[in-house]
């Protein structure tokens, strides 16, 4: 009986944890996307100083949420995000608008992709 009770508790914790995690990771993904949009706008306006500030904001936000992201996400995906951020930083410093914008687009895709694997969809289950 004790095993049954423990199992029910584990099941409840897993389900509620999954729901809370999905909500949390979606919020993080949206916030990252929003900051990334800010960088894109600055780059479009050729406001490189503004883009740098937004990039710092992005890096700080990622660092603040790194534990939650690393807890369940694929580390390889986060390595890709970091690589793209560093590349974008280089392009912004070098005032290379086209390359910086393309990195922005890649990051946009990666940030959108973060919560997708955890959505309750048939394609994820299969």
């Amino acid at each position: 009986m004790r095993g049954v009770i423990v199992s029910v508790i584990i099941a409840a914790v897993m389900i509620s944890g999954s729901i809370l995690y999905s909500i949390g990771i979606r919020k993080i993904s949206e916030e990252l996307g929003s900051i990334n949009d800010g960088i894109m706008i600055c780059l479009t306006d050729e406001n490189y100083e503004g883009a740098k500030d937004e990039l710092i904001k992005l890096i700080e936000y990622l660092e603040r949420n790194s534990t939650m992201l690393a807890a369940t996400g694929n580390h390889e995906e986060f390595n890709k995000i970091e690589i793209n951020i560093y590349e974008m930083s280089g392009y912004i410093n070098g005032r290379q608008k086209t390359d910086a914008v393309s990195r922005c687009k890649v990051l946009d895709f990666l940030f959108e992709h973060i919560p997708k694997n955890y959505e309750l969809k048939l394609e994820n289950i299969l």
């Binding site: 199992s7 584990i10 897993m14 694929n74």
Partner: protein
């Protein structure tokens, strides 16, 4: 490298806890579903152990899910015979009243050589000595011998004054007194102290094992290096 060690220890702890939650059944004969779960748990835990790129939780959550599923299925099979039959099947009687049931053997894809082998492993070398043989849901064979072939019991010999052994109480284990066992043996610390004094034992920590059987006989073994 230390990261790998820590991850391995964490997953080891999770697997041990999982097996404990699933209960003692895992340690004995396994039903088909239990065997599958045990194999899956070990496989699932080993993947994030080696792959440092994968989050630890990608091994822990599937293991926990399997435990929950296994415990709940065990619980439902306890409460419902239909579920029990679906999950574990039912025992098959392959020999009844001394006669081999060929149809049942065929259903089990058990040939006569397999049957004879299992009988031998159960110490029945002559099939004519067997009254009933049952293939249990775990695949093991249980045998009920014919009356003339079974082991003699105390009742058969009509013996008087038979020793009552029962389950011995391990009162002291590695120098530590086990109060529960002492209570179960219906003795107390005063009695134990007297027994120790009789044998010239000064300290309970010198005792490796002290066991009291159903006849009230106390067995004491001292630790190595102690008299």
């Amino acid at each position: 490298m230390l990261v790998l060690v820590i991850r391995t220890l964490i997953l080891y702890g999770v697997v041990i806890a999982a097996l404990r939650i699933m209960g003692k059944r895992q340690l004995g004969e396994l039903q088909p579903s239990e065997l599958v779960v045990a194999i899956m748990i070990s496989d699932l835990a080993s993947v994030p152990m080696q792959a440092i790129d994968l989050p630890l939780i990608s091994g822990i959550i599937p293991v926990l899910t399997l435990i929950v599923a296994e415990v709940m299925m065990s619980y439902f099979s306890l409460k419902s015979e239909k579920v029990r039959k679906f999950l574990s099947g039912k025992p098959s009687i392959v020999i009844y009243d001394g006669k081999v049931d060929e149809g049942e053997l065929e259903k089990l894809r058990f040939n006569i050589n397999d049957l004879l082998e299992e009988l031998r492993l159960n110490n029945y070398y002559d099939i004519s000595d067997v009254a009933v043989a049952i293939v249990e849901t775990s695949g093991k064979l249980s045998v009920v011998p014919k009356d003339y072939a079974r082991e003699v019991t105390v009742e058969d010999l009509k013996l008087k004054g038979v020793r009552h052994d029962g389950l011995p109480c391990t009162i002291v284990s590695d120098g530590i007194l086990n109060y529960e066992e002492l209570l179960r043996s219906k003795k107390d610390t005063v009695w134990l102290t007297k027994e120790m004094k009789k044998r010239g034992i000064k300290d309970i920590k010198e005792i490796f094992i002290a066991s009291l059987n159903g006849e009230g006989e106390l067995f004491i073994q001292m630790k190595e290096g102690k008299k």
